[in-house]
Amino acid sequence: MAGAQTHRLDKGGLIDRSASLNFRFDGKTFSGFQGDTLASALIANGVKLVGRSFKYHRPRGILTSGSEEPNALVELRTGARREPNTKATTAELYEGLEAASQNRWPSLRHDVMSVNQLFAPIFVAGFYYKTFMWPAKFWEAIYEPAIRRAAGLGRAAGVADPDHYDKAWAHCDVLIAGSGPAGLAAALAAGRSGARVILCEEDFTLGGRLLSDGGTIDGLPVAEWLSRTLAELAAMPDVRIMTRTTLFGVYDGGTYGAIERVNDHLPSPPEHQVRQRLWRIVARRCVVAAGALERPIVFAGNDTPGVMMASAMRTYIARYAAAPAKRIALFTNNEDGWRTVEAALGAGLQIAAVIDARPDVSAAYRSLASKGGFPVLHGSVSGVEGGKDGVRKIAVSLTGGARAEVEADGLAVSGGWNPAVGLTSYHRGRPKWRDDIAAFVPDGAPPGMVAAGAANGDFGLGACLSQGFAAGAAAAHDAGHNGKAGTAPVADDEAFSLTPLWHVAGKGKAFVDYQHDVTASDIELAQREGFESVEHLKRYTTLGMATDQGKTSNVAGLAIMAAVSGRSIPETGTTIYRPPYVPVAIGAFAGHHRDETFHATRLTPSHHWAAEQGAVFVDTGLWKRAQWYPRAGEKDWLESVTREVKAVRGGVGFCDVSTLGKIDVHGRDAGAFLDRVYINTFSNLAVGKARYGLMLREDGIVYDDGTTSRLAEDHYFLTTTTAKAGLVMQHLEFCRQVLFPELDVQLTSVSDQWAQFSIAGPKTRDLLKEIVDPAEDLSNEGFPFMGAREVALRGGIKARLFRISFSGEMAFEISVPARFGDAMARNLMLAGAPFGVTPYGTEALGVMRVEKGHVAGPELNGTTTAADLGLGKMMSTKKDYIGRVMAGREALVAPDRQVVVGIKPTDKARRLRSGAHIIPKGQIPGPGNDQGYVTSVCFSPTLDQWIGLGLVERGRERIGEVVHAHDPLRGEDYDVELCNPVFYDPDGGRQRG
């Protein structure tokens, strides 16, 4: 059974006392209520020690009540859902929640690594740069592993995240960050004006500080005003309120990033639902009403559990009815901190004392003190006595030098407030300093964005409402909406008098960055060593680099740096603010793009037929292509592929080649256009003919190749390689629209319109005769090599037939409209059955192209010229074309270039491997004699040995030379002969036959 909620207040709070929830922290069971955060529930149970710090493993308690929390980080959930570094202050309580403290061993109370504190005199900022250098090998072996184990915070699950994420877009006129008084007022004004509004609130309840601080708006108690306002907003159809949603970044063109924690408040997401959703919000205007963060004061012992931000303390009391302490002292330098005293007294808690660093305290609070019977001490806290179990005693240096002690079990601290300037500064804006509040405020913002209320440095409730309202109305107006906004909500402004105080000198460690254990003396040391720039300071000490992104530490840190370096705070400046505003799960940025849905999948028209045949598929770009079709009894891929090759060479086979890019080139100037993009000429291609074409990039290097046919006077059908299909389309559109706009050319991708099959082998014509209308003449005369025309098929559909060959066999490629692709495969099987037709995959295709010496991807590698590929003769000298001039540069026409050549091991039993390098025979391999490499290999069933292509220095002059294939990666060295790359039917008789 759960322990009693010893620190739960009897009444009040926005918790649902009828919904009790059990949870576990470090294995111990507690109970809380619906509406609690893990932090508030721990507080209600009297838990003070919740974590250990990064470097010194110091015991730490809860410091804040929001996403700026540096200390109270836990591993939330267990198993595959374990989430390290989760802020207890924002984690919503649910039934069965499990959390564990982190960065401690064996337990939170007894952490062995806390011995680090003993070495604290050595472990100062930057100490590791000065040591661990000897002996050099010890770094990876000894020092670094030890440092790595000690560092880090929580443990990641280490197994795949079982939850789903998605991403979505939203659009609005006015985007509002924050649902405090300024945000709600902005939403009211913008919504009433007729604008489309999205309001994002990171909390699960709307209201911001209104939920904790109370007050009166429009003469109504805050709670009542809040419910009326929310009802009014809910009634506006174009106002969308998103809770549990943090606006974390602003990108160009009014695009904002937000993270919605859709189901983090449940043990796991319901079926079909995501854990979190990433929003890309497009907004014409944005009102940042993200409020301000109360800042600590740096003093010795300020990290003792029980020391808490004053505003957080009253949040726990007022909103969660949980008492962080029963006898509370307040250390403040401003008027606002006193509100915690009011809240505590109102909840029946004891005030031990108020330590106020200001010379004066207002009369109202002075009388509150006398009524409450607690002293007001003018001075500063100089030390804290206590430990794991919290604060016991507080040492005070009184103004004038005397000392005092205060007994208390909790210390509320208020050093003033820092506007949340993150969002407004993410476009590398630097905020400006305002002396009256001793804080940085936004100085400009990304286009379309404005800060209002506390986020703009105006902390009073009245100011927040009026500023927020005005900002919302103006934003709506700018977005073109001029409906009646009505009047702004009205409230009084509280007094805010502050005397800046950053650091109280004293004995003992005084923390600036709690999580990273950066102390005031670390900052002094950094200054001494020349790391005076705030960026150097950050990097040298790690100040502000913890999971709270410096929200509680940065300003104090640079104020201390300013003091020790004799500069003003604005002169010292801030570091660059970087998104995201709160840490965001990597899974959310990925959305559904993981596992098999990482990228889209393209399927060929005959895919499901091939799958029925048991094809093995290979990923080629986004495509799944049939790689080979294994048959029962075949022992490996090589056996299957060899069978397929033999079947083609000896009979007939077919292969789906629909993945080739296909482009319709129309227009009066289509031929002239192609002449400019190909190195060879197409304007003189006869209708009904196909031609192989090669295109270069403008730098003279080969870009792509393919066969292009002329189907009509003003219509060419261009094919590209599978890999370059989209890029060639883009390139051709560039040529058409930018380079040669004077030409009449229209381009359309028809890649998906046509299912295209290569049918190859000596019995191709026999097969085709079965399937093509008998009226079509397929004879060598009626349909010669490189012919291309439309034909009718039996059964009444039309196809395009191209007499082209990649395999070197008598071959055709046939195209049918894609929805007939599946039927085509089945019909080819049917028609070819008498001839032993064999479907073949990309491997067999590859084998035959290597046998035939055709270049492909490994040779078209972005560094080869047409001449390197043996295609230099195709380069027309009679016309201008893309890449012509640059192709003539001296190094691209040098005689010692690596060019395509055939390669075969002298030992026929030897396997050749791609990536082996070519070294002259008898030489020791070295950079000076590395003459090229093997680009493509295959086992050639035709030659009964491994063969390949390579790029070899002066290769074509060296046909017949025996060289060395050097493959140290695989421990192989063997002799190979450089040979004609066309291993098979070099005269081309078979494809023309």
Partner: protein, 417 residues
């Protein structure tokens, strides 16, 4: 001040009151033998090698902001020498060898951690390309291993082997690759160079070149006044075009934004550096515990030092595809640097067409790993007026001659390198 465990212990006893500045805060003199523009890793390393290897100590490094404020301070800290083309291979290995002795050279712990770099492959074609590259490395005396699937599984059992869109088939491993603490590299060179007499001058922006009647550069105009120089070297990657324009030069370079990311610190999860071969993602884990990762450049010219969401998403998609265990790890910080993207993806270290002005530019996104090597060969060029043999192919005129060093084969399209 010599750093050692003893000096640290002594300092601890005195409350660390006796530490001196890591580098002297110099005020500019009227004239230096060599002025280096750019107080990043490359500029400072150049200065140190000029002083330590070439005996040229009357050197100033001018930095417009704080040292290391450019790409030296915003990168993903990876070091490796796994390049495949002549020109790059030897140079990056020279650099790797200098990394291996850096800390002893500089008396500064830059946390050079040789914990291995694995480039994963997902197709036969990619394997073949890595085989080619790995063999080039071996031929050049560089360590390289081709891992099969079993070896990858053993080394990185947490990758997605079960239901990946593009299953991992293996990888190319360079065990000597790894990471280094980027800021410490800058501070280490500053520390050591300053000790040899080099003036490191921060908050000193170069606003123009001083030229004599023949057009020779004889100094620089700066925000802290005119500074004379025997030679001026620029090492301002990201801003090379801007600085070169002051001398009337146009370069084969575009400036692009590259984003990088770090997660919250977590206990050790990733043993080595790895790159995904089927998407844009590479990652390592810092000693502090954060996953440091990145992907492709945003793809458009930019000096804004910040990027946009599509690339951020693309990178995280790659990460999740490769290892879905990082789904619940949170991205903590995102930043962007300006890359000097050259027209072939390889750097330029050469005399410029303007007498007296020397270029060190075009590092694309590979500048960090090159830091010591770049400093070494640039110092050589500045001292001897001839290129170091390992940088002999990084000439500016290689584009005109057609002798590009194009590892990716993308041609004169910088955003594709």
């Amino acid at each position: 001040m010599k750093y050692s465990i003893f000096s640290l212990a002594r300092a601890a006893l005195s409350g660390h009151k006796n530490w001196q500045r890591t580098w002297r805060d110099a005020t500019p003199k009227d004239h230096y033998d060599v002025v280096i523009i750019g107080g990043g890793g490359h500029g400072l390393a150049t200065a140190w090698f000029l002083a330590s290897e070439y005996g040229i100590k009357n050197v100033a490094v001018l930095e417009k902001g704080w040292i290391g404020s450019g790409n030296a301070g915003r990168n993903t800290t990876i070091i490796r020498s796994n390049y495949g083309l002549p020109g790059n291979t030897g140079f990056y290995e020279l650099s790797m060898k200098l990394w291996e002795r850096m800390e002893q050279d500089l008396n500064y712990n830059a946390m050079v951690s040789q914990r291995g770099v694995v480039n994963l492959y997902h197709s036969d074609a990619q394997r073949d390309a890595y085989a080619r590259r790995g063999n080039t490395m071996r031929i050049n005396g560089i360590d390289a291993e081709l891992l099969d699937l079993t070896a990858v599984k053993k080394m990185m059992p947490f990758l997605n082997f079960d239901n990946a869109r593009f299953p991992v088939q293996g990888g190319l491993l360079q065990r000597r690759g790894g990471t280094a603490r980027h800021d410490a590299v800058v501070w280490g060179y500053a520390h050591a160079a300053s000790a040899l007499g080099v003036d490191i001058i921060q908050n000193c922006e170069v606003t123009g070149f001083v030229r004599d009647a023949n057009g020779k550069v004889t100094g620089v105009e700066t925000s802290r006044g005119k500074i004379g120089a025997g030679k001026v070297g620029m090492a301002v990657a990201g801003s090379s075009s801007r600085v070169a324009a002051m001398a009337g030069l146009r370069l084969p370079i575009e400036s692009h934004v590259l984003q990088a990311f770090v997660s919250e610190a977590i206990k050790p999860l990733l043993p080595n550096v790895m790159t995904f071969g089927a998407g844009h993602f590479y990652v390592s884990q810092s000693d502090k515990g954060g996953l440091v990762f990145g992907g492709d450049i945003d793809g458009y010219n930019s000096y804004a030092q910040r990027g946009n969401m599509p690339v951020m998403e693309d990178v995280c998609e790659g990460g999740m595809a490769l290892m879905p265990m990082i789904g619940r790890v949170r991205l903590l910080r995102q930043w962007g640097g300006i890359m000097d993207m050259s027209m072939d993806g390889s750097p330029i270290i050469d005399k410029s067409p303007v007498d007296g002005l020397y270029l060190n530019a075009g590092w694309c996104y590979g500048g960090f790993k090159a830091t010591p090597g770049s400093g070494f060969v640039f110092a050589h060029l500045l001292a001897r007026d001839t290129p170091h043999e390992e940088a002999a192919k990084f000439r500016l005129d290689r584009f005109r001659r057609g002798a590009m060093i194009d590892e990716k084969g993308q041609g004169a399209q910088p955003n594709l390198h």
